[in-house]
Amino acid sequence: MINPDSETVHLTSCPHDCGGRCVLKVHVQGGRVRRIETDDGPEPQLRACARGRAYRQRLYAEDRIRTPLRRTGKRGAGDFEPVSWDAALDEVAQRMLDIRQRCGNEAIMYIAYSGNTGTFLHSQLGVFRLLTLFGGFTPCWGSASFWGSLFSSEATYGTLVAGHTPDDMLNAKLILMWGWNPAETVQKTNTAWYLARAREQGAHIVAIDPRFTDSAAAFAREWIAIRPGTDTAMLIAMAHVMITENLYDRAFIEKYTSGFGQFKDYVLGVSDGTPKTPAWAAQITGVAEEKISALARLYASATPAKLLTLGAPGRSAFGEQFHRAAATLAAMTGNIGIYGGEPAGFGLAPVGLKPEAGTGLIARRMPGNLPEGARQRKAIHITKLWDAILTGKQGGYGADYKMAYITNANPVNQFMNSNRAAEALSSLEFVVVHEQVLTATARYADIVLPVNTHLERNDIIRPWQGGPYCIYMKQLVESLHASKSDLDICRALAPRLGIDAYGNMSDEEWLSEFWQEARDMTHGEELPDYDRFKEMGLHRMQRGKPAIAFEHLDAGRPFNTPSGKIEIYSSTIAERNDPQLPPIPTWIEPWEGPQASREGAYPLQLISTHSKRRIHSNMHTVAWLRDLEPHTVWINTLDAEARGIQNGDRVRVFNDRGAVLIQARVTGRIMPGVVSMGQGAWYRPDENGVDRGGCVNVLLNDTHSPAGAFCSNSCLVEIAREP
């Protein structure tokens, strides 16, 4: 029962990488979190999902790491002994100094990702600062989520601020959910709610997806099943219909775009002899010719319309082409710069704090920082880390790597080719991991340093895709066990590494200074002073209407591209002179795509999806969430019958890179020839190297698209019933 005398309620948020940024109202009593509620203020409330609501179980999880750990067994075995902080930090410092002296700073690889994201202070940046002051390191680059979209948005529009806030869904007549499933991925808080209301207001919603997703079921009037990796072909055929039937917005194309002529020549087959007709695309995509034509006519006529996508179709072999084609269709239909439209670029909306607020500030203000160019030349793409470690200079990389420093990330689990990751980390001299729980990656560490959660430290957070609010995340309980923040670990390591410039600023001093700087980094909104903001917890910037990109098309220079226009022909891409990366949106048959599935030993296309019971690999071990749904591989009824597989059977999913044992879910919700697994289940190889944890990355090819996209949806497998 509530005891109002001793229970206090505090507002905070979640720092994980779902894209949403919701309100948690945390009840604290006697120094412990008792309950978690969500926003009950004025609408639009920022209501949290099941994961946020289950956070108490994560905070007090049995598997929280309690002390610093030193490895005692083989790497990966998970055998550790507890050691004191002093012993652990001394060992880390001594090994780093030794490796630097023998092999140079570049032999130290720093692997960090989005374990905490959108926060001002407690992210990878404190470690980035430490390692830079140590003389440098080898960083990684790339995004597992949406590099194809980032790249395309920059090339086509010259900016990442190419999205609308989700409330603008209510202005759309037509919404194309293209490989986009916000009911499970969230993307922005309230996206699904606005979709439901748009549907109720009469918006026509179509889902184009290999799966009949929760979003398709709840919002779409029509589901168009499409083979993974072929979305670009369908978009280009839709352009063919619009061009040949004269349905596109000529005035918009002429005024605001450049290079449409070259694209048109390609679409009509003038430049290569192949007209990209719906019949041509039907063979590639598996979508009926009439459906492609009908969708093209609908998109061209139902203005304003939104083509909404985030990352999935672009997480394929030539994923950037999908995003380039989607933006081109948004331009051809004149859906840019209007309410209810959507540029189909990267989804940052011009509202609230800009991306540069907070993130990067610690790193940028460091003496001794390497110039950006020097760092980037040495950076390794996140899909090539294992190859770099295993092959080093011989493989054409910048160094022979000896050590990995890993924070805010679970790369063994979440970057492609987990078996190769295990081999690579096992080959290093020294691995140090900051973690909250013993993840697949932490099992390969020599030293594991226990990190606290966002409920145990102060921070500021904002929605990473832009939103009219930010949240002060107040420390609500003392750090549990012996855990520390990443920043405190760096503070303790710095003197041991001979760094005296790390600084004496407290968390509060950093935060107050960042906030002061952030006040000049908004899209025009005023922010209260720091003390007032802390008191408010949630600061909402009042807006009467949605925020949309390129609202002022005729003022100034809305597109920061070389031509100042929307570049359908991208001059920056053309400069790269890469035949795999053409300057106009182009269909290229993917490796491990539909064609390869008909030719080799692995006939099924595997796609990786998000799971609503975890955030990537975060919270996978939380019992309340595990209970919600079993972790399964989806397989169509026809494919299951052909293999003698029944719903619930234990099956082996395999290819040349590895094998995973998992439960089968036989369903009509996925198209024949395609299977899917939720990413993020924890890698647990047995003595034969077969993964019993259901980690999809065991199966994925550790390479990237020509532009750098993480191609997790270009993968072929076979499935067999496990006796």
């Binding site: 509620e37 969500t38 209501r47 699904a192 709840a218």
Partner: protein, 184 residues
């Protein structure tokens, strides 16, 4: 007055926020015990497939079968709003009795592990209602698909439908719920 629930199935995406919010608020650690449960119903064959979710708790029936079945008189309806009230001290327990579980058409009565486990189920967040708050599941739903209130008022606001995929309305117990179905 009979208080009940409204559930907009057409909006439900199966996100489970209601189920977890309930678990957290009432501190139900054991996952075998579910005061509120979200379940999926999948119908049809590819590509003509249909999917719907339903989120159900105790439905605080007008004529509760559990109360009728209870030999120990441990199950009551509150006079103030017709919500159900379980007296754990009087309940005979899972092994000795369990009659309510067999009687309920909605699998609402829950028992934890162990032979002496007493019956527990949704109490409509009685303590929250007393403070003027909605039940925690209603306040949690990111789709605003749940509501709770006087059944007469809910009927005026939402109409009367109480049939949906994954749910059959018992004419015998008369559950206090109105559902807007996804498929009609």
């Amino acid at each position: 007055m009979q208080r009940g629930f409204y559930f907009d199935q057409s909006r439900c995406t199966g996100c489970y926020a209601c189920e977890i919010a309930c678990r957290d608020w009432h501190d139900i650690q054991d996952t075998r015990v579910k005061w509120r449960r979200v379940t999926a119903t999948e119908q049809g064959a590819y590509p003509d497939v249909q999917l719907s979710y339903i989120s159900l708790s105790c439905l605080h029936c007008a004529e509760p079968a559990c109360r009728e079945a209870c030999p120990a008189d441990a199950i009551h309806k509150r006079e103030s709003d017709g919500s159900m009230l379980v007296d754990a001290d009087t309940c005979l327990g899972a092994d000795a009795c369990g009659a309510c579980r067999s009687a309920c058409p909605y699998n609402a009565p829950q028992f934890g592990p162990g032979p002496d486990a007493k019956m527990q189920m949704c109490d409509m967040c009685h303590e929250r209602l007393e403070q003027g708050l909605q039940p925690v599941c209603v306040a949690a739903c990111p789709m605003r698909a749940l509501d709770c209130g006087d059944m007469d008022e809910l009927q005026k606001k939402y109409g009367g439908c109480s049939e949906a995929r994954g749910f059959a309305c018992s004419t015998r117990t008369r559950p206090s719920i109105i559902i807007k179905p996804r498929y009609t």
